[in-house]
């Protein structure tokens, strides 16, 4: 596999960085890939802009950050506006459906991420894991089982069940997700 780049963006407190770490761990420990995972965030614990990036490759990874993402997840309008233009032509974008899309040039999946997290998972904070479910069903760089294993290792023990549910909801959502092209 050649260099594959994922950018997860949103606001502080939405768990984008944890999601990035989980992808990275799944790819490293379960798939044996090389990975680099980086992030950028403001000093705020909550609310400010937050971005996690994962680069996957069979080769040694030199530049550790995303250059042109294969996947962009944007959970806030701000994040979307800032990043949607960077995505590779053949890449995909995943956004919450509260977000207004502009100038769509790449495959964009707009889904009721928060709505489902609140309604079906009953935990708004599970949106990040739900997103992992979506990603899982859209790409084939990493196996479902690997992602699930990595999630279980990273989330607090008592929340494993609810997070597995979030993952499943995400997968289901993606399978029926509407695509703007």
């Amino acid at each position: 596999m050649d260099r594959f780049e994922i950018r997860l963006s949103g606001a502080g407190g939405q768990g984008m960085i944890l999601a990035g770490i989980i992808i990275a761990e799944a790819c490293l420990y379960e798939e044996g890939l090389n990975v680099t995972q980086t992030q950028s965030y403001g000093p705020e614990s909550r609310g400010g802009a937050s971005r996690a990036e994962v680069v996957l490759s069979r080769e040694v990874i030199d530049f550790p950050k995303v250059i042109k993402p294969d996947i962009l997840v944007a959970l806030t309008q701000k994040a979307y506006n800032k990043y949607y233009n960077d995505v590779k032509d053949e890449g995909i974008i995943i956004v919450d459906n509260s977000i207004e899309l502009s100038n769509i040039k790449v495959k964009t999946y707009q889904m009721p991420i928060f709505e489902k997290a609140i309604e079906e998972v009953e935990m708004k904070l599970s949106a990040n894991i739900l997103v992992l479910g979506i990603i899982d069903s859209l790409i084939n760089q990493v196996k479902s089982s690997s992602l699930k294993k990595a999630i279980k290792k990273r989330v607090p023990e008592r929340t494993i069940a609810v997070n597995m549910k979030a993952f499943a909801v995400g997968k289901k959502l993606a399978e029926g997700g509407k695509i703007d092209e």
Binding site: G13, G42, P43, E44, S45, R46, G47, G48
Partner: protein
């Protein structure tokens, strides 16, 4: 009861960066109400803060405001006040900012009894850097740098500032908003070093790690462990356990630093004539 806070708040900077349920917002709001109540001239008021979540307060308050380095706010404030004693100088600090790295400036500010109003937002943790213990994290509690429980002992800040020479010492909680306003107003009007410890809650970096996951629970805890100083002395030792007194704990009339310095100037200049 209707406080005019609009003039004192930089509304365009809101929402602030503090987490949901953070006590710092409540304390800052009531500091502003205390300012309104004390009727000090906002054009002659300077707010100086250190670094930390608490330190961000200065950015939201509509005065001359200075966000400095970690721990040094009182030293900056000392220069501001001595250079122009007309100014009302308020310092906002945190328990880490004010008692760890800034401990020396706290005791020396108190020793000089310089006319500052120091508001220490004590959330018992380093909030901004995500949950390391501070000198005010209760012994035994967990923090990211105390994974096996904190063995450090705490200061009693009222004792410490009293021993250092502060002439006004008070404590309030984010819970007891009305008392806070009173204390702030009284501290602002006191001439001399006024130290006010305002107990805050950090649900994200302190509560979560110590069995109190919501701001509401933490506020209830403040309610249950605080006792008004008027009642405090009548409690038995047993009853005092795990509790702390709030209100104006100490107040003294004492020579103030900038006034004493002005006397030097006056007498030196008199002599020079």
């Amino acid at each position: 009861m209707g406080y005019k806070i609009d003039e004192y708040l930089r509304q365009d900077k809101l929402p602030h960066i503090w987490c949901p349920g953070c006590g710092h917002g409540t304390i800052m709001g009531n500091l502003i109400r205390g300012i309104d109540k004390a009727k000090i001239d906002p054009d002659k008021t300077v707010v100086v803060s250190g670094i930390g979540c608490s330190g961000r307060a200065s950015g939201y308050m509509n005065f001359d405001t200075l966000h400095t380095t970690h721990g040094r706010a009182i030293a900056f404030a000392t220069g501001i006040k001595l250079a122009n004693p007309e100014l009302n100088v308020i310092v906002i600090t945190g328990d880490g900012d004010g008692t760890a790295i800034g401990g020396n400036h706290l005791i020396h500010g108190a020793r000089r009894n310089i006319d500052l109003t120091v508001v220490l937002m004590n959330n018992h943790i380093y909030g901004m850097t995500s949950g390391q213990f501070s000198p005010m994290t209760p012994t035994g509690d967990n923090a990211t740098t105390a994974p096996y429980g904190n063995i450090d002992q705490n200061f009693d800040l009222a004792d410490l500032t009293k021993a250092s020479g502060a002439s006004f010492i008070a404590r309030g909680t984010a819970y007891n908003t009305r008392q806070l306003i009173e204390i702030f107003a009284e501290g602002l009007l006191h001439t001399g070093f006024s130290f006010i410890e305002a107990i805050s809650q950090c649900p994200v970096n302190y509560g979560r790690r110590n069995g109190l996951s919501s701001a509401v629970d933490m506020l209830k805890c403040q309610r249950d462990s605080s006792v008004n100083i008027r009642k405090w002395d009548s409690l038995s030792k047993e009853e005092k356990k795990g509790k702390f007194p709030t209100g104006v704990l100490y107040k003294e009339d004492k020579r103030e630093y900038t006034e004493m310095y002005q006397e030097i100037i006056d007498s030196v200049q008199e002599e020079a004539k």
